[in-house]
Symmetry: C2
Subunit: 247 residues, 2 copies
């Protein structure tokens, strides 16, 4: 069964508090990185896998997208999104990222933000995204960086390395990792960068950009606490385009 | 001035002892990964940047390459290569990877094994490789993995993470790192995966494969000491092809 932590009331509350801040990690590092890779959204048909409460869907509508479909495994998130966004150009569906219905060549852009590390098998999702995109359509996603998901232990000290550092272990073991984040027992799936890149290529994508974003210089001056994200990359963002089919 | 550690007599001896073993790390993990990405070498014109004593050049000749140029910053290495390989289809030159002479559209394949982490500015090298390759020509290289070069501290223990683990720090700081390997003060240049991928794309390459190889299952049974390479990836291997020029 697919994990649906976002419908847990404690998780939902913690997450909504976190994300409602415009100065949080997502607003500071993750969103600018994803947004930096976007094409002009004007007139595009867009799919947002794991849309949460619809922040990116709103952004697409503000930027004149023709149509945006937001999907999320969490009913609570979709209820919240529908409350916030009342626009005939937006549609929402409660469905896990793995299970969205493919309509071939129907989207210009598929975006997924911090969702795929909850997905056990990524290849079928990439294949479905490739099928759903028009030729040369864009696919952009962010996930927790494999350096972070390899252990999920957080910063540590050691005798031989007195400075705090980020520990990596079991990097090649692509299995689930269990952590506590708002609630106990949150399951994430660690994957290598090798797997992300090669599964994309094999699904028919041409890699356009890979980002391991951290805070900018200005941000570091204003908010020195973000400097830890210079020391190990918190997230991985990859963009690709659907290549012309080889005949 | 470019660092030329390989002409240091102590380094040269240590390195030659290491590489003369067919059961070492390179033979077990690095070479199979690079070789797995090679096209058929028959009839190809090949450039090997940082060819060392010519092991890959020999392999190309055995596999019916038309011509192989091996370059290395180290005169000692090139002398050794010339001693081992006497074939009119092979040519050698003492020159740093950054400075090889570009002849446009002259190679089908450029390979570089464990060399670019010694190169300060990678973009000019990628540009020169792109110019030197024929359209759809292959570029394959291996480097020390950024997880390893970020700190160069090696395995460590800690109080909060009792198991040994690999420490990462200063990941986003793309500067030189100084370590001791056979001799003191070996300089390596740490770069992120973001930089490797995006500089390749911007130099006109289509990314084909990214590998973070470790030992295979069989290897682990025979040589359990290699299992540490499952815990953090020792090397990064990337292959791409030169894309058709956009007009």
């Amino acid at each position: 069964m697919k994990q649906n932590i976002y419908d847990n009331p404690d998780f939902f509350k913690g997450y909504m508090d976190l994300r409602s801040s415009e100065s949080g990690f997502n607003a500071a590092i993750e969103e600018p990185a994803v947004y930096s890779l976007l094409p002009s959204l004007k007139g595009l048909r867009i799919l947002d896998l794991g849309c949460g409460f619809g922040k990116f869907v709103s952004f697409c509508l503000q930027n004149k997208a023709e149509f945006v479909l937001g999907t999320d495994i969490s009913q609570k998130m979709i209820i919240e999104a529908k409350k916030r966004i009342k626009d005939t150009k937006a549609s929402f569906e409660v469905i896990p990222a793995e299970d969205f219905e493919v309509k071939e060549d129907s989207f210009d852009l598929v975006v997924s933000s911090m969702c795929f590390h909850y997905v056990k098998d990524i290849r079928p999702v990439f294949n479905k995204v490739a099928l759903s995109l028009k030729e040369n359509g864009y696919f952009i996603f962010s996930v927790e960086h494999p350096i972070c998901t390899s252990m999920l232990k957080g910063w540590c000290n050691s005798d031989d390395t007195p400075k705090k550092h980020w520990p990596v272990d079991d990097y090649k073991k692509e299995t689930k990792r269990v952590s506590n984040w708002f609630i106990d027992g949150v399951i994430k799936y660690h994957r290598t960068i090798e797997t992300y890149i090669n599964e994309l290529v094999d699904s028919g994508f041409s890699i356009k950009r890979l980002l391991e974003p951290g805070p900018t210089g200005d941000m570091l001056t204003e908010r020195p606490e973000l400097s830890e994200h210079m020391r190990r990359p918190p997230i991985l963002v990859i963009s690709g385009t659907k290549t012309a089919q080889q005949v």
